[in-house]
């Protein structure tokens, strides 16, 4: 629209188009209402809860409004290992997911272009896990990685695992679960950018005597950067807040508890809502800062 206006005359450029469009407002209204009701309100109530103080002599779960900054200090110091674990595990899982997903996405998006049927079949396979509940899939892995499973027995037979070793309840199982569960979130954005990759650029690279590795590093990777950034964000953010994989009931143990598990315990079991809320906000803030730095460093602010 702006371009059409521009093309007719110079005056049209400086004159801004209609600023107030009631139709646009009406169309935006459901979205705004939704965000206000289901995002902003809970967020504000979370912030308020995080500052609540314990009611002196009160029953379990009784809190009064207050300005307890101490909740943040207590939460951050008591649960520091959980905060570190959350981001450490999420980071490792994101890197693994990227390493695993990139070749898959490259194959589907570039190599399989000639066979649309194969392409759509492989895409379906990537999405297929979504047809089964997240919880069930994770439970299935718990079963596959259990002590008497063929996987563990085989690993013990070739002495990769010591005789008294386990997989479930270890950081390995948790990171494995995170990687597995978030791989589609990595593969799909990578696929959408690689699918549009212009092969002629790669041909140009080899015409200019670049080795395949150089072409990949200098042409393919920079061109697929938008996919890499959105894929890593879509993996890292939910993985950092995940509490299912690391839960004692699934792949984790008390030694692998992540921040999400600490929030769950404080909220549900201990009825310690202020600490749970403070931890949630810490999680959100750290993610926001990390993502901000990451996006800035990778020079892709335009994507956001």
């Amino acid at each position: 629209m702006a371009f059409a206006a521009f093309a007719s005359s110079d005056a049209a450029v400086t004159k801004p188009p209609r600023r107030k469009s009631t139709i646009a407002l009406v169309l935006l209204l459901p979205g705004i209402l939704y965000m206000v009701l289901f995002f902003l309100t809970p967020l504000i109530s979370l912030v308020i809860t995080s500052f609540q103080a314990e009611l002196p002599g009160g029953d379990i779960g009784d809190y009064i409004p207050g300005l307890q900054w101490q909740n943040y200090v207590d939460g951050a110091s008591e649960y520091l290992p959980h905060i570190l674990r959350a981001f450490g595990y999420a980071l490792v899982a994101t890197v693994f997911a990227l390493i695993i997903s990139y070749p898959i996405a490259y194959f589907i998006g570039v190599k399989a272009r000639r066979w649309p049927l194969l392409q759509s079949m492989m895409l379906t396979l990537v999405i297929a896990p979504f047809f089964i509940s997240f919880l069930l899939r994770t439970l299935a892995w718990k079963q596959i990685l259990s002590d008497e499973s063929p996987v563990v027995l085989a690993l013990k037979a070739v002495a990769i695992l010591p005789a008294d070793g386990h997989l479930t309840g270890t950081p390995f199982a948790v990171i494995f679960g995170l990687t597995y569960n978030f791989i589609p979130f990595m593969t799909l954005p990578l696929y959408t950018t690689l699918e549009r990759l212009d092969i002629r650029f790669l041909e140009a690279g080899s015409d200019l005597y670049a080795s395949p590795a150089t072409t990949f590093a200098k042409v393919t990777v920079p061109l697929s950067m938008p996919g890499i950034i959105s894929g890593t964000l879509l993996t890292f953010i939910p993985a950092a807040g995940d509490y299912i994989n690391a839960s004692r009931d699934f792949l984790g143990s008390s030694k692998t508890a992540m921040l999400g598990n600490a929030i769950e315990a404080n909220f549900l079991t201990l009825q310690n809502y202020p600490i749970a809320a403070a931890l949630s906000i810490i999680l959100m803030a750290v993610i926001l800062v990390l993502v901000g730095v990451y996006v800035r460093r990778s020079g892709t602010e335009d994507l956001l």
């Binding site: 702006a2 371009f3 521009f6 110079d10 450029v13 801004p16 188009p17 705004i32 206000v36 902003l40 309100t41 504000i44 109530s45 308020i48 809860t49 609540q52 009611l55 009160g58 029953d59 379990i60 779960g61 009784d62 809190y63 009064i64 409004p65 008591e78 649960y79 290992p81 959980h82 439970l139 718990k142 079963q143 259990s146 002590d147 008497e148 499973s149 008294d164 386990h166 479930t168 309840g169 004692r248 009931d249 143990s253 008390s254 030694k255 692998t256 508890a257 598990n261 600490a262 315990a265 404080n266 909220f267 549900l268 079991t269 201990l270 009825q271 310690n272 020079g299 602010e301 335009d302």
Partner: protein, 408 residues
């Protein structure tokens, strides 16, 4: 972003125009959102100010049972007799006898998460969508303490006289005015008979080196710590001190830190027993009977000599229920010895109803002698009810236990 612009003046102008538009848009959006945010923040603050802090206990809802012949019952999984088609025969019996339509929900998977789901409605005295709920006694004692459950009308439950004398006067509800036991059970120790043919005698056997990493315990504090405290010579029903509790926590923490105990679970522990991640565990009595029936007679449950814990899941009627009389009729029905025996024959937990054992003789004489369903005096002596905690203890001791679970 700062790449040199194309030289074509037409395109340059186009880009400049688009950028200025974008900037204008950003400003407009941010100003609007800031205003909206501020307004909402104030609104939410006002809301939060009204909704936090302790309130006076809610009042009981008006009973409309006479006109509304239905009742909703929330209960735990596998906790009622069920036929092959998924129907509940005793529930159908109740509907036929009274004409009250029952909605039976398997809605309780964990005391804490159920409480977390309904606590706000409970505090306001609103309907939580259930007229009768079965929760474990320690949670029931909290609900009674906070005034969240209705007083039961003894006249509507004549069969209340059948409650086991040992359960008739708990410290949190003397005379059972607001609660009535549904089923009970033991927490003790169990092991895989195939893998551990020699079996276990005491709780200390769980800490043997050969079981390293293969021991499971329950995430229910009162059962796990209770069984450990008993093994340290503390009667959990007595007035024990915090330091005695902490002794058990210390031992528990050591076993978790050393990797002796790897699995700390709720109901999911059965899964670990079956895939043999767990070879020996602190566990619940009825579950073992159930998985033995499913997967061959593979596990054995005992109450250790030092003693196990005894718990009860207990009926309550939330303040917001408008069908209390119907719920009372339901409780009355399940306190008929014949009905109680029918349920016990299926769920394999301890029935709180006097006379059920005699009724069981006609259903299945073998079950009537099962100590885990109809314990005799000697067995009951070995099992102790974890004493009711004060609100303060619930907070501090609960935090200590959760710390171990979270690896702090």
């Amino acid at each position: 972003m700062n790449a040199p612009l194309p030289r074509d003046p037409l395109i340059q102008q186009a880009i400049a125009h688009t950028r200025s538009l974008q900037r204008a848009k950003q400003i407009a959006v941010s100003r609007r959102s800031v205003l909206a945010g501020a307004g909402l923040g104030l609104g939410a603050l006002a809301l939060a100010a009204c909704s936090t802090g302790p309130r006076p206990a809610p009042l009981a809802a008006v009973d409309s049972s006479a006109s509304d012949k239905s009742v909703v019952w929330d209960n735990w999984p596998a906790y009622i007799d069920e036929d092959d088609d998924g129907n509940y025969p005793t529930v159908i019996g109740f509907e036929e006898q009274t004409g009250i339509k029952v909605t039976y929900n398997v809605a309780v998977d964990d005391n804490n998460s159920y409480y977390g789901k309904v606590k706000d409605q409970l505090a306001l005295g609103q309907d939580i969508g259930a007229d009768a709920v079965c929760l474990t006694e320690w949670m029931v004692s909290r609900l009674i303490r906070k005034g969240y459950v209705q007083e039961l009308d003894a006249a509507n439950i004549p069969n209340k006289k059948n409650v086991l004398p040992s359960l008739a006067n708990p410290d949190f509800d003397p005379g059972r005015n607001r609660s009535l036991p549904w089923q009970g059970g033991f927490a003790g120790i169990c092991w895989n008979k195939e893998r551990l043919p020699k079996g276990l005698r005491s709780v200390d056997d769980l800490w043997k080196p050969e079981l390293k990493g293969r021991v499971g315990v329950l995430s229910e504090m009162r059962d796990t710590i209770g069984v450990i405290m008993q093994s340290q010579g503390v009667d959990v029903s007595s007035d024990w001190t915090e330091s005695q509790f902490m002794d058990a926590i210390d031992l528990f923490r050591k076993q978790v830190d050393d990797g002796q105990v790897r699995n700390i679970k709720g109901n999911a522990y059965l899964n670990d027993l079956q895939n043999e991640d767990t070879l020996a565990a602190i566990c619940w009595s009825g579950d073992i009977t159930l998985i033995n029936a499913e997967a061959g007679d593979k596990w054995e449950f005992i109450l250790p000599d030092s003693g196990g814990t005894l718990w009860n899941d207990t009926f309550v009627v939330p303040m917001g229920s408008t069908r209390k009389a119907n719920a009372e009729a339901l409780m009355n029905y399940y306190y008929e010895p014949e009905v109680a025996a029918e349920v016990a024959a299926w769920v394999n937990y301890i029935t709180p109803v006097v006379g059920a054992r005699e009724a069981m003789d006609s259903i299945d004489p073998e079950l009537a002698n099962n100590q885990l369903i109809f314990p005799d005096e000697k067995t009951l002596e070995q099992a102790h009810v974890f004493r009711t905690l004060t609100a303060e203890e619930e907070k501090t001791l609960g935090t200590e236990f959760q710390k171990v679970l979270l690896g702090i």
